[in-house]
């Protein structure tokens, strides 16, 4: 089925009840639509009319399964992929209307780190060159100042400059490479750091180190973080607010502790129960989510999660649920929320 983009936008969106507004909004996203063209000349809406505001100093976790649009959202926030419609504003300045050069000028303020730390570092560069590159491109300081900045950044991320500066990325473990890419991303003093699955490729023992480091960096450099992950357990400690996404739309968005204490959306609760528990006596996966998300080329009518939802009714097939506030700060798009 080929959806005409215009008519779909006029259809129920996911609502904007959760937008907070105010002076502290660093990133304001309204009705964002990102579309990809597929081989069959169809359009896939990876992000489908999503609104969001990012508040200064928070860590917003974006959680969902593969294909839910979370990485596309991350890229669209920086306009690395251009959106089809809707707007993204960074401190009132529109990114969606900005020219390529205007966007480039804004990039130092918004940086990104990626899932695979090894392939995101140039193997022919030394650590010094990796971190110096952004400083040189933007002519930040003299050679001595740049040198001091590199040492400062490496120390901050827990690497000894004397030992690592002349080495190459392949000489480091995955965790150390992620530290290097964090140092690089902080070189230009960004306000927003977007982390796209930064620990999924790492061992459990190293994950915790990187999560702690990101929290430290946030405090030290006054960052606002967007943290993309498929695993609700991983984001628990670092996030202040969590947004659960499904097929390009928001299911639930709430303050971190509230969301985990009382998930109201059936999808959130299913995600929580899929987390492996290090306790052999625990009742296993009481609620295994069956199947996989349907194809985003032809999303289900009404509520997109209804085909896998235990509580789905006819209403869910005909009417798309809007985000509504079920308790203070907890917004859920569901006709039949959990108690």
């Amino acid at each position: 089925m080929l959806l005409s983009p215009e008519s779909d936008e006029l259809m129920a969106g996911s609502g904007k009840a959760h937008l907070q507004g105010g002076e502290n909004v660093v990133l304001d996203v309204q009705d964002l639509v990102v579309e990809y063209k597929t081989a069959g000349n169809q359009y896939v809406k990876a992000v489908s009319g999503l609104s969001l505001d990012l508040i200064k100093g928070e860590t917003l976790a974006v959680v969902g399964e593969s294909g839910c649009g979370k990485s596309t959202l991350a890229k669209a926030l920086m306009q690395i992929v251009r959106s089809k419609s809707g707007s993204v504003k960074f401190r009132g300045e529109s990114l969606t209307d900005a020219s390529k050069e205007e966007l480039r000028q804004l990039r130092p303020k918004m940086q990104m780190i990626f899932q695979d730390p090894v392939s995101s570092l140039d193997p022919r560069f030394t650590v010094t060159q990796i971190i110096q590159e952004p400083l040189e491109i933007w002519s930040r300081g003299t050679a001595e100042e740049q040198d001091a900045k590199i040492n400062e950044l490496l120390n901050s991320v827990g690497l000894d400059p004397a030992l690592v500066r002349d080495r190459h990325s392949y000489e480091f473990s995955g965790g150390q490479c992620q530290r290097i890419s964090i140092a690089r991303s902080l070189a230009l003093g960004p306000e927003i750091l977007i982390c796209d699955e930064p620990v999924s490729a790492l061992d459990v023992s190293v994950q915790a180190q990187i999560l702690n480091l990101l929290q430290d960096m946030k405090d030290q450099y006054g960052l606002t973080l967007v943290f993309i992950s498929h695993d609700l357990a991983v984001v628990k400690a670092v996030s202040t607010r969590v947004m659960v996404m499904y097929l390009g739309k928001i299911c639930e968005i709430a303050n971190s502790d509230d969301l985990y204490a009382k998930p109201r959306h059936h999808y959130t609760s299913a995600l929580i129960s899929s987390i492996p528990v290090p306790d052999p006596t625990a009742t296993l996966h009481t609620q295994i989510l069956q199947g996989e998300p349907p194809s985003p080329t032809d999303p289900p009518s009404g509520c997109r999660f209804r085909t896998r939802c235990p509580a789905a009714t006819e209403l869910c097939a005909t009417e798309e649920p809007q985000l509504r506030e079920l308790s203070a700060g907890q917004f859920v798009a569901c006709h039949h929320p959990r108690d």
């Binding site: 473990s173 459990v204 994950q207 357990a233 628990k236 400690a237 492996p276 528990v277 052999p280 295994i288």
Partner: protein, 325 residues
């Protein structure tokens, strides 16, 4: 029943540019038929090399192997390559972490599943096709007839891993090695694949070795767990016993580093500082001592043996943690 798989003093070294790398050090364990064993450790702990060496898959000239591996009283290390090959698929099978690179991208799913049964079981083309469809049904792939004609790139990661499992089970192996089978998958799909593996294992009375870095993954899906560190088994116990009565500080640290949903937002997570020792340098003392908060001078100078606390719970530590009850 017992002595289904007996690994004794298995030792693997690789010659590398930096010198001899001691990947697996004198490892012994036993597994009964139908039982499942979790091998847990960080990257570089030797868990993958141990499972490959057990299957006899380390054939490169740089690998130096010693020790014994007996599967139902047949000494695998003494078999010729051809004899060993006849055991793969029919007695021992393996699935890997990355189902995309493990599958052939230019052959259809059906052909890849049928290959083993045709060669090993001598099935005709039609029989093999029928068998493949049954296998796809067994691993719960929707519309198996349609899936037969697909290429791996047309399937999701979870579906590809199901196909890998179907290929591994095609010739009814007695033991399945699963090397980080869910690490590349989403949590929701991970839960599906783990419960599928467990139900298949019980249904087919197949033994399983589940290799992973995540203790959370093995907790509900194994009978026994071996924790590996720097090429050695440092703790070995029945799964429930391991979690209830952790003796080895390393295991405790691994358990504590698992992210949990009960952690308060904004708190620091417990970490294991430092990293594994360089495997090209022979160990003096306990390999974990430099990272261990309980380590003493003795730990740094003497190498602890694997001792049995009774009831088969073994640990490699001079100062084991106290048992709770």
């Amino acid at each position: 029943m017992s002595n289904f798989l007996k690994v004794k003093n298995l030792d693997v070294k690789f010659s590398t540019a930096r010198g001899l790398l001691h990947a697996v050090k004198d490892v012994s364990f036993e597994l009964n038929s139908g039982e499942s064993l979790g091998i847990v450790g960080e990257s570089g702990s030797g868990k993958t090399v141990l499972s490959r060496a057990t299957m006899g898959l380390l054939t490169m000239s740089t690998a130096k192997k010693s020790g014994s591996v007996k599967l139902e009283d047949v000494e695998l290390t003494e078999l010729t390559r051809e004899e060993l090959r006849s055991k793969w698929g029919t007695e021992m099978a393996i699935i890997f972490q990355d189902p995309m690179t493990a599958l052939n991208p230019v052959r259809r799913i059906g052909a890849q599943i049928s290959e083993g049964p045709r060669v090993r079981m001598g099935l005709s083309k039609a029989e093999a096709k029928k068998h493949a469809i049954e296998l796809l049904t067994l691993v719960q792939i929707p519309e198996p007839e349609k899936a037969m004609k697909k290429f791996p790139s047309q399937l999701s990661g979870g579906m590809r891993q199901r196909v890998m499992i179907a290929i591994a089970l095609a010739c009814s192996p007695k033991i399945l090695f699963a090397d980080e089978p869910t690490t590349a998958l989403d949590v929701t799909v991970q839960a599906q694949i783990l419960s599928l593996l467990t139900s298949l294992r019980k249904k087919l009375n197949m033994a399983m070795v589940l290799v992973t870095h995540d203790l959370g993954v093995v907790a509900g899906h194994t009978d026994k767990i071996a924790v590996m560190y720097a090429g050695e088994i440092v703790e070995f116990a029945k799964t429930e016993d391991l979690f209830r009565n952790v003796r080895m500080p390393y295991t405790e640290a691994l358990i504590n580093s698992i992210p949990r949903i009960t952690t308060k937002s904004g708190t620091r997570l417990p970490v294991i500082d430092g990293r594994l020792p360089d495997p090209t340098i022979p160990l003096v003392g306990c390999g974990f001592a430099p990272r261990c908060k309980y380590a003493t001078d003795k730990c740094r100078t003497e190498h602890p043996d694997l001792v049995d606390a009774g009831n088969g719970h073994m640990y490699r530590c001079f100062f084991p943690l106290k048992v709770m009850n």
